[in-house]
Subunit: 459 residues, 2 copies
């Protein structure tokens, strides 16, 4: 057995304790009050990189949250892989639904519960430990690596593109390795070769200057909450089709072969429905659940607010109403074009009796779809087969990793997505968790990955 593998096995339990320290830092990127925690998390990553022998470790400031960079480039003639991940996390709210505190990592039934456990601190940690295993047992890595761990993924990576553009030379790589996705189910390891894109908006509707008494004014004054409900209700029709003119123009039709391949994947709609506790799985008519999630765009309301939302009754006629609305995009939709179409459409359908402000509040993510026959993709498949003891399947995900499109565009490097999450691990929701078996097998796979990439011959 490879000494790096033995190393991972020997430290299996110690690694969990180490990861807990990383998870205790509430590095919520969307909230300014967590600025200090973000710094601390970046520092934690940099310290961990230095401790395992990586070089040129640097916490680099950006216009937003810092990027952490490191490299190890002592394998001449071998390819260079860029490992990308993020140390920032989603807000933990609503707090009352967490069984244990979001920043108090707790193991229950072989699963580690904490905000960021699977998205993405646990998966960043997995790579650090696999590199450590090689370096501590061999004093070297099979190939060259660079690491780029950012702090703004959960807010759409607004400063990443610029930073990558300015550091294009220093980031030169033959492939990008990312672990920030989930497999289809436990025991079904996979490689993700497609992502949806993302655009995110806030709609602010104003009726009157301030809230009014609903008795004294109700019936004679516009209700912005009602106007907002009218706008939102029109965005999708009965068949789940998005009503923005031109929205589907560039959507690539799914070839029959891909459709059959999706249908053949070991995926259970019943199981998904049970896991999330939904009365039914619903979506755009004419498509299966996996097609809806991976190959079709969607529009969702992410937040809604108006008037009085406390306990009890307040007879207020709200002066303002707000909605957060985002769209997931698929090949070949262009985020800038869809953003323009959305803005025009909501302004057009908004009643003239209110004022509406449309604000794009997150960086854009471009949809991505990669061929599965690339030699690096095949090398990763062999690594996963050794790490998990099972041949991986090729899947897509409905989520977005804005950096992937950037790497394709700016570094001309293919992305390899090896995610060890599970669909029910509550990323972005209360009780986020990480399966510790998957973490372990993921570390083993990552150890094998560097060997496989070293042995692979790029055409």
């Amino acid at each position: 057995m490879h000494p790096a593998i033995t190393y991972i096995q020997a430290h299996r339990h110690a690694f969990v304790e180490e990861l807990k320290a990383f998870l205790r830092i509430p590095s919520v990127s969307t909230k300014s009050e967590h600025r200090g925690d973000i710094q601390q998390a970046a520092q934690w990553v940099a310290d961990a990189m230095r401790a395992i022998g990586l070089e040129h470790v640097q916490v680099v400031p950006t216009a937003g949250h810092p990027v952490v960079y490191a490299d190890w480039l002592h394998a001449p003639g071998q390819p260079t892989a860029l490992i990308y991940g993020h140390y920032d996390v989603q807000p933990p709210e609503p707090l009352d639904l967490w069984i244990s505190g979001p920043f108090d990592p707790t193991v229950r039934n072989g699963e580690l519960y904490a905000r960021g456990a699977v998205d993405d601190k646990g998966q960043v940690f997995m790579h650090l430990k696999a590199l450590e295993a090689h370096l501590k047992t061999q004093g070297a890595l099979p190939i060259n690596v660079r690491l780029l761990i950012e702090g703004e993924e959960e807010i759409g990576s607004p400063n990443l593109d610029g930073w990558i553009l300015r550091n294009r030379d220093r980031l030169k790589a033959d492939m990008v390795v990312i672990s920030d996705t989930a497999m289809l189910a436990k025991g079904v390891p996979g490689i993700t070769h497609g992502l949806r894109g993302l655009i995110y908006f806030q709609l602010d509707v104003e009726g009157t200057r301030s809230d009014l008494h609903s008795g004294s004014f109700g019936g004679a004054v516009v209700n912005p909450a009602f106007a907002l409900a009218q706008v939102l209700a029109q965005l999708k029709d009965r068949n789940g089709r998005i009503g923005i003119p031109g929205f589907y123009d560039d959507v690539r039709k799914l070839p029959a072969g891909e459709r059959r391949a999706l249908a053949g994947l070991p995926f259970s709609e019943k199981k998904l429905q049970r896991e999330i506790g939904a009365p039914a799985l619903v979506g755009e008519k004419g498509f299966s659940t996996l097609e809806r999630l991976w190959t079709r765009p969607t529009l969702e309301i992410n937040g809604l607010y108006s008037g009085f939302i406390g306990k009890g009754a307040k007879t207020v006629l709200p002066g303002r109403a707000m909605a957060k609305v985002s769209m997931r995009l698929v090949p070949n939709q262009n985020p800038a074009r869809i953003a323009r179409l959305f803005t025009q459409h909501v302004k057009r359908i908004c009643p003239r009796t209110v004022r509406m402000k449309v604000t794009e509040i997150s960086g854009r993510g471009t949809p991505w779809l990669a061929p599965t026959d690339h030699p690096a993709m095949q090398a990763m498949a062999r690594a996963i087969q050794q790490g998990f003891g099972k041949k991986p399947v090729f899947t897509r995900t409905g989520g977005t990793i804005p950096a992937v499109a950037t790497f394709t565009r700016l570094l001309k490097a293919p992305s390899l997505l090896m995610g060890i999450g599970l669909p029910d691990e509550n990323a972005h929701a209360p009780n986020e968790k990480l399966d510790l078996d998957n973490l372990h097998h993921g570390m083993l796979s990552a150890v094998h990955l560097w060997n496989e990439l070293a042995e692979m011959r790029l055409k």
Copy 2:
């Protein structure tokens, strides 16, 4: 000049300071954390009653917040008036829109700013001071009075009916005097002879057990915020007509004479629009603003919540969505019947893909309309003419005072509504205020009222 009038004039400024103490008590009835403040406000009223020489002063517990009772019954052969008001207030939120603190009463430009200034602490205080003026200068009142000041008006007076029913004998009165309404405009004193009724609901829509990642699940899972928006958007049509089947069945058609009378009132739509900062006044097609406010029922969204409403972006697919929806009713709509129709309708139009809970969360208010030629109504008109130096107009209001219908039904006594508020005094909204000239003229009118009622002969 009547010595009671001189007394009011001499204490004009001292009274404002006294009222401030009452306004400093945050007696918000809808929030359980204010239970202590509610008790304190009830005690403040009782102490004030005792100090001016009222008798049988009592803070009476109910199943909810206490009722404060007092009387003075030493005018044999004279009628008995029951003065009704409330010491509870609306929640002050949103706090950031207040120029001075809601419970830090502050005078600016002749107006006293505080939650409860006009609704209804200031108007209760007005009556206390008019009684004080008679009692301190004459040692007696011209007629008999009872006072009933409750603490649950802002939550629909859920315990008042039962209490009045049980104390029907002790509350025997020839008329009920209430000051909890507004006049049409400054310089246009009035008597309110019509009120709308009220029913209030909370809609809770549940999609999935908890919030989900909008990338991983968006497009294949129901969005409860979207389902709620669809339900709400259907409740009114383009013409502002409420879409609940049977809703308008019992609405009394406005006689042509009343319609002309409304049109002749000194009311400016332009001024109202400017005051509230609305781009336009809108409502049910085919009706004037005053008709919409006073004679037509309405349905309003009072609150809306789902998902993430903080700053920034969170890519969450909400598990739940909530709306508060209330209806103002007019003669001869029956609140129980409309509540049933509403509940049936929203359940019928709610998509089957979500679970919806419909909860009535406030006491019901029955609509009320009284003839203006009653001798007591005419006596009040003379009192106001003397107090304000101007003949009052008869108006209605879009608001609700649930107790009025109760008094009609249980005490068989006519209600006399002498309100000294102004339409732009922000009742139920931030920066609630009370015009101090109106407070003063209201006190003078109340002093005259007891004389006029003593001289009136009830048929």
